[in-house]
Structures are given as structure tokens and as C-alpha cells.
């Protein structure tokens, strides 16, 4: 193989798998979020076609697929971020703990506090680190006074694995941190409003391998506490981080199953082609 001249980027070293990674959690309670027959139209163009998935709260669900296959669009349906796009139209039924999120009875602001989101490019507010984390709890009235707010900020930063690095400089600007730290700050910000579900849209695509590994470890630690759905175009990451994987292609859900099965013996031909790199 020394004679080939490919420029393959070596994938980062995967962490040593722990027993918990390989043991499948039993199918116990009902799913945290259910989506049925979701279709999304941007004007006349259909971006998603009749997608149905369950998101469970004790596992990480990964959405993979080539560019433009609709995985980010679907993720954004789960916290109604598609509402901010004027030409987008969503049909279908999504439930959070049994409540329909698109009904008039569900306040979209409250929904977004329960279903948090972390974006592809770290986007901390141009405020201090403390303010970044405190903003959410403040507008939702989660803290009665300064000491309670301090506690929330500390807890969120600790859970995001950032506390030790920033505890002495909480008043510094959030944008002065490195890319990986900024992303963890965004995760802390999402955690601070005490959500039930965390949606992550390609959270590591702008980060270097070490920062990526730290975020993946963080996702593993957060798994028991929040239901996590992660969109990623890096299949190895989906394999490392998730217990369930859904493969999207051209707006359709092709296959959804256990991550270990999808990556060792997928059922659908298109899934196999994509994950072995025969696609395109």
C-alpha cells in the first residue's frame, strides 16, 4: 500500500469502547419524541418525504446521509426551527411526551426550552461567558436570585465539561474562547434551561480532532440525562457516539436501526453503499 498516492485523512483514534457501549439498552419505556409521516416542503420543492422516527431518552440517535438528504431539515422540525423559514411547510405529526408540538396549545418558546439545540458553527452570544449561560434561565425565569443563577451557571458549565477551564474568567467574552471551548459553551447554554431533549446539528464539523473527541465524550456523559439526537456527516462519529442510527437519502428515511447492525450488516443496499463509501 505504500505505492498508493491517496490523500486520505486518517480518522481520529476512536476511544476504547466501554462495556456500556456494546450492551444494548433494553426497550423499556415509550419514546420521548415520536415523529410520524413528516414531510417538509420549501415552496414547491419537497425536502422530506414521510419520515417516521422515535427518539428515546436513554440513547443517542444519529442521523446520517449525504449532503442535502434532509437530515438537518428533519432535526429542525423537532424544535420547530423550520417555523423561522417563511417558505417552509411541515406536515405530519410530532409528539413530545405525548403532546403534539405543532398544536396551538404548545407555545413554541416553551418547546424550544424543552428541546434545546446546538448548531454546526459555535455561536456564543457576544457577551461574557457567564451571561451566555445565564441568558436562557433568565428569560425563562428559572432563577430566583443571583446565587441561584450562579448555581445554575456553575452546574451547566460543569456538566458541559468547561467549568475547570473558565471558572476564573467568567466575565470574559464568550467569543474569546477556542472553537472547541465555544462549542462546549453552547452546549452549556443549551443545558442551562434544563431541556429534556438536546438536538445537535453537526456539532463537531468545525472542530479539530481533539476538540471533537472531547465533545463526543461529553455526549456520552450526557446520554443518561437527556435524549440526544445528533446529525453528522461523519459516519465514524455516528458509529462511535450513537446507539441508534437513521440513514437518510434524498429526503427519505432508508433505514433505522441499531448502530451496531447498521455498520456491520445493514439491510438496505443503499445504506451499505453509503457507509462503505460506494456512494457518489
Amino acid at each position: 500500500m505504500a505505492e498508493t498516492e491517496t490523500t486520505t485523512v486518517p480518522t481520529p483514534v476512536p476511544p476504547v469502547p466501554r462495556p456500556a457501549d456494546t450492551v444494548e439498552p433494553a426497550e423499556q419505556h415509550s419514546p420521548k419524541m415520536c415523529a410520524r409521516d413528516i414531510s417538509v416542503f420549501y415552496g414547491d420543492k419537497q425536502a422530506l418525504k414521510d419520515v417516521s422516527i422515535d427518539i428515546h431518552d436513554d440513547r443517542v440517535t444519529a442521523f446520517i446521509g449525504p449532503s442535502g438528504c434532509g437530515k438537518s431539515t428533519f432535526l429542525r422540525c423537532l424544535n420547530r426551527m423550520n417555523d423561522t423559514i417563511p417558505s417552509a411547510r411541515v406536515t405530519g405529526h410530532i409528539e413530545l411526551d405525548g403532546e403534539d408540538i405543532n398544536s396551538a396549545a404548545m407555545d413554541v418558546v416553551q418547546l424550544r426550552a424543552r428541546v434545546g439545540m446546538v448548531f454546526q458553527k459555535p455561536n456564543p452570544f457576544p457577551k461574557s461567558i457567564y451571561e451566555n449561560v445565564a441568558y436562557g434561565p433568565r428569560i425563562h425565569g428559572l432563577a430566583a436570585g443571583k446565587s441561584e443563577m450562579d448555581a445554575i451557571v456553575e452546574k451547566s458549565l460543569k456538566r458541559a465539561g468547561l467549568w475547570e477551564e473558565v471558572k476564573d474568567r467568567l466575565q470574559e467574552s464568550g467569543t474569546a474562547l477556542s472553537g472547541g471551548q465555544q462549542q462546549r459553551l453552547c452546549i452549556a447554554r443549551a443545558i442551562a434551561v434544563d431541556p429534556e431533549v438536546i438536538l445537535m446539528d453537526e456539532p463537531c464539523s468545525a472542530l479539530d480532532p481533539i476538540a471533537t473527541a472531547k465533545i463526543e465524550e461529553l455526549i456520552h456523559e450526557l446520554r443518561g440525562r437527556y435524549a440526544i439526537a445528533i446529525v453528522t456527516h461523519n459516519m465514524q462519529q455516528a458509529a462511535r457516539v450513537s446507539q441508534r442510527t437513521a440513514f437518510f437519502h434524498l429526503g427519505e428515511l432508508i433505514e433505522y436501526g441499531k448502530t451496531s447492525t447498521i455498520f456491520t450488516n445493514p439491510v438496505e443496499r443503499r445504506t451499505q453503499d453509503y457507509i462503505t463509501g460506494r456512494y457518489g
Binding site: 498508493t4 456491520t264 445493514p266 462503505t276 460506494r278
Partner: protein, 233 residues
């Protein structure tokens, strides 16, 4: 030989093809060694037997090369699903084929010790047994390269014939030894040789199971075995 189809990174296809070519090469050598060793046995070709022992080293070297390539492929290409199963199968098959080569070498080593065994009758069955065994090896490695699970299954069935041959030879040699105690040393060698060929058949079956798993992602259920002389009939 079926080439790996359509990875976006062409070098990945080339790596997998080269791996298959290696396995093919090893298989050819092993297969040839089995047939050659049987021919040398029948024709008392001492020189040929020495050559077989010498070329076994080549098989060992190829196995090491295969292992090296597999490790590199896993590290650099991160193969998934079918590709991963293929690569793991290639690793296991190479070690099995190397073993098969060792059996052929073992047979060749016994050739000088059997110079006046032409009078032993059971020896006439052995070329046929060896032929079946070497064909099994040939076919199962073809099945690997072609990723043909059905062909692998067919190879499994033929092991029964090999086992039956072995049982006959076993009984015949036992009788032969009981008739005349001068025959014991020759017969024992022949027994070992027969056992080696029977092992070759078993190994071919093992390879067939690996090929089946690599192609389909499922393991073969307990396969039908030949008559086990250790069990009461």
C-alpha cells in the same frame, strides 16, 4: 476474479483487490502443494517432496504479508459492513490456508520414510481423497473471491465424502496393522497422512463458513458433519 465495485476512493478498491489476489495466490500454492505431495507419495519422488518443503516458506511469507495488509487497510480505510467482514475473513482465511500448506509439507516430509509402501493397498484411495480435498480448497477460495455464499455451502457438503474416505482408510490400515506387525510403522505414517488430508477438508469447510459470513453477515447454523469414528455407530 470479481473486482470490488465502485468505492468513491479508487485506492480503496485497489487495496481490496490486492488483498483478494494475495489470498488467491496463497490458495493456489496450497492447492498445488496438496496435489504435488500426493503425487510424490505415489511416485516415490524424493526430489519433488523436498521442493514442496522448501516452497512452504513462501506460503508463510504470504501469510505475514496478508496480515500486514489487513492491519493497514483497517487503520487507513476504516472499512465498514461488507468490506469489514471481507477484510476480517481474509485475515482468518490466510492463516487457515497457511495451515493447509503445513499439512502438505507434513505429507511431503513423510515421503522418504515410505519407500517400500507400494504394496499397501489402502494407499490407492488416498489420491482420490486428496483430489477432493484440494478441489474443495480451490472452490472455496473461488467462492471467497466471488463472494458467492451458495458456492461456499456446496463445498461444505463435500466434506462428508472426505470424511467417509478417511474412515475407510482408517479401518483398512487398522486391519493391515493387525495382520502383520511389520507393517505398523508404514501404516502409522499412512494414517497420519490420511488424517492430514481429512483435516484439509475440515479446514476448507471452516473457510466456507467464513466466506458465508463475509458475504451474508450471518453465521452458518451447525453444519452436517461426516461420521465421527469416536462415536459408537
Amino acid at each position: 476474479m470479481a473486482t470490488s465495485s465502485g468505492h468513491t476512493i479508487k485506492a480503496f478498491d485497489e487495496d481490496l483487490d490486492r488483498l483478494r489476489a494475495l489470498i488467491n495466490q496463497m490458495g493456489g500454492l496450497a492447492e498445488h502443494a496438496i496435489r504435488e505431495s500426493m503425487r510424490c507419495l505415489v511416485q516415490r519422488d524424493l526430489e519433488g517432496a523436498e521442493k514442496i518443503v522448501a516452497t512452504d516458506k513462501k506460503l508463510d511469507a504470504l501469510e505475514i504479508e496478508t496480515e500486514r495488509r489487513v492491519v493497514q487497510l483497517i487503520a487507513l480505510r476504516a472499512p465498514m459492513a461488507g468490506d469489514l467482514r471481507d477484510v476480517v475473513a481474509a485475515l482468518k482465511i490466510s492463516s487457515v490456508v497457511e495451515r493447509i500448506g503445513d499439512y502438505a509439507k507434513n505429507i511431503a516430509k513423510r515421503v522418504p520414510l515410505l519407500d517400500n509402501a507400494h504394496s499397501i493397498e489402502p494407499i490407492s484411495l488416498m489420491p482420490e481423497m486428496a483430489r477432493i480435498a484440494s478441489e474443495m480448497v480451490h472452490d472455496v477460495l473461488n467462492a471467497f473471491v466471488e463472494r458467492d455464499a451458495e458456492a461456499a455451502l456446496r463445498v461444505v457438503e463435500r466434506d462428508r465424502a472426505v470424511d467417509d474416505f478417511y474412515n475407510s482408510i482408517f479401518r483398512a490400515l487398522l486391519t493391515f496393522m493387525m495382520e502383520n506387525s511389520n507393517n505398523i510403522s508404514q501404516s502409522t505414517h499412512l494414517l497420519f497422512i490420511a488424517k492430514n488430508i481429512e483435516r484439509v477438508g475440515d479446514h476448507a469447510t471452516n473457510i466456507a463458513e467464513m466466506v458465508y459470513y463475509a458475504s451474508t453477515g450471518q453465521h452458518l447454523a451447525d453444519r452436517p458433519r461426516g461420521h465421527d469414528p469416536l462415536k459408537p455407530e
